[in-house]
Amino acid sequence: MSDFKRIIAKRKRQDFIFNIVGIVCTLIGILTLGALLVDLFLDGLPRLNLGFFTHFPSRFAEQAGILSSWVGTLLIMLVTAATAVPLGVAAGVYLEEYARKNWLTNLIEINIANLAGVPSIVYGLMALGLLVYQFRLGQSILTGGLTLAFLILPIVIVATREALRTIPQGIREAAYALGSTKWQVVRHHLLPYSIGGTMTGIIIALSRAIGETAPLITIGALTFIAFLPPPPIKSQAPFVSFEWLWSPFSVLPIQMFNWVSRPDQAFVVNAAGAGLVLILITLSLNAAAIVIRYRVRKRIKW
């Protein structure tokens, strides 16, 4: 009998030990995230003043700022969102609602699964060979935005499909019963009801795109830019201008990479400042996505 008790005690001890190991391993991840944030805050926070946001990069670390790179990030994201969102949502709707089970659909599905695993720098090489030199779009904001749009397209497609899949079949059947056409079902019911899930996916995709560095370096984004793209609004008719699409650019992560690569410690502090801005943007986008997901899940009761 004491043998039996000993075995039980031993097994309980095993479970207890693994419980500790599991907690420690989980903490490795959490603590690293914490250390990274604290490290960036300590190094970068003193650098975050108004001048940092309103100055161009400079040879002098104290005067250098991120003006051209945050404007570049903003404009690139405009192009990326304007391309990837309609394209990705349309593709998701097609695959989930329209596609028949045939070889073409199969091909598209395998292809999307594979695209999601292609390293981001390969997208940069594709954009360099195809967009920059074959289509002659140059090393411009347009090229950069399209490159990142291609990169996040699979994420948007998958998010759209998953959001559509949560809508009960009865909704579709009810709409059909009232005489809706397929597009009317999609337009008036499926898209509005799936907006929460789709938005979550889009925000996460954009936060990924904001941090992407390698593909933009590959297409030849500049690391030192001391001017802004031409403004999108003009004083004469037709008042809007798309000249900025053709402007060279830099973005926040590239600016950070440029600064972190310098031996001078003063520039490394600038890198921490830029990194802090970057991580605050991506973390708040992710937080927004989590909040939206949570609220949508609470609100909708089919």
Partner: protein
């Protein structure tokens, strides 16, 4: 693919299926025809959007093949695969991809040494041990790890991890593959833990209950029953992690640096395939020069390496879905 019947006009189909007569379509014939044409056009546009993803793949493969074909016209494939020096920008260039592949393999190996055990243990812990509320908090928190931009991780590897490791390992240079690999490993922990946990949670409860009934404790059940049952899903997550580590760029470009270095010692600096592409792209490279072509040759090597793992992972995921 939903099981909506494939219909040209739902009202007409309703007439076939339901006993009650459908409401008559009172619109004039022209309006009905117009709406049918509109539906067709919309479906064609949506198909075009879905097909754009295929066009991107064709663009990637086509560009890599086209640009590297001019490279391989200059450099024999045998030299590319067997030469031990990679100096494409020197006056007397050598084009052996081995040093870059080695750099990629070493950093990947370091990253996997961190990510696979830790990720697996976290997955087992979250799936089999942790209370539900803990899991609900920890899982998204861990996933934030993969949301941090990789350039920030590069900074962290160089400014935090490298000095830390230098204290532990005297004589470690500032730039080294070890700190880059360790940070990369931490970054891909959530890829392993989240997917593995999903796979383990998909294992039916009855299998666990069977093990408990035979007197197994939690850890034995997890290791001997749940882990093997979820194995293909877990391996799929490992493969995703491998493919992420191979393609990771900014961490190694910042923290492992240059030059290409044929060594298996992670404490040395060396360039990976990705870091080389970044380094060359930073310079002003004339279109069509051999240096320009060399980044595509490096790129196609990288693409093929990740493609093999992606296909493997896709096949495993498919199998994993069919099990239960």
């Amino acid at each position: 693919m939903k099981d909506i019947p494939d219909l040209q006009h739902p009202v007409a189909a309703a007439a076939e299926q339901s006993p009650s007569p459908p409401p008559p379509d009172t619109r004039p014939a022209a309006a009905r025809r117009l709406s049918r044409v509109k539906e067709r056009i919309i479906e064609a546009l949506l198909l075009l959007a879905a097909f754009s993803s295929v066009a991107i793949t064709v663009g990637i493969v086509g560009t890599l093949a086209y640009e590297s074909s001019t490279f391989f016209a200059h450099v024999p494939l045998k030299d590319f695969l067997t030469d031990t020096l990679w100096t494409p920008l020197f006056a007397s260039p050598r084009f052996g991809i081995l040093p870059l592949v080695m750099g990629t393999l070493v950093t990947t190996a370091v990253a996997l040494t961190v990510a696979l055990p830790v990720g697996t243990i976290v997955a087992i812990y979250l799936s089999e041990f942790a209370p539900g509320t803990v899991r609900e908090v920890i899982k998204p928190a861990l996933e934030l790890l993969s949301a941090v931009p990789t350039v920030v991780y590069g900074y962290f590897a160089l400014q935090f991890m490298s000095p830390l490791l230098q204290k532990l390992i005297p004589g470690l240079p500032t730039f080294n593959m070890l700190s880059a690999g360790v940070v990369m490993g931490i970054m891909i922990i959530p890829y392993v833990s989240s997917l593995s946990e999903d796979a383990m949670r998909a294992v039916p409860m009855s299998l666990r209950e069977g093990a408990y009934a035979l007197g197994a404790n939690r850890i034995i059940t997890a290791l001997k029953v749940v882990y093997p049952s979820a194995f293909s899903g877990i391996v799929a997550s490992y493969i995703l992690a491998i493919s992420r580590a191979i393609g990771e760029t900014m961490i190694v470009a910042i923290a492992a640096r240059m030059p290409p270095n044929l060594t298996a010692d992670p404490s040395e600096p060396a360039a990976t395939i990705t870091a080389f592409i970044v380094q060359v792209s930073l310079g002003d490279l004339p279109h069509g020069s051999i240096g320009y072509q060399s980044i595509f040759a490096a790129g196609i090597t990288l693409f093929i390496m990740t493609l093999i793992f992606n296909i493997l992972g896709y096949m495993l995921r498919k199998r994993f879905r069919e099990v239960y």
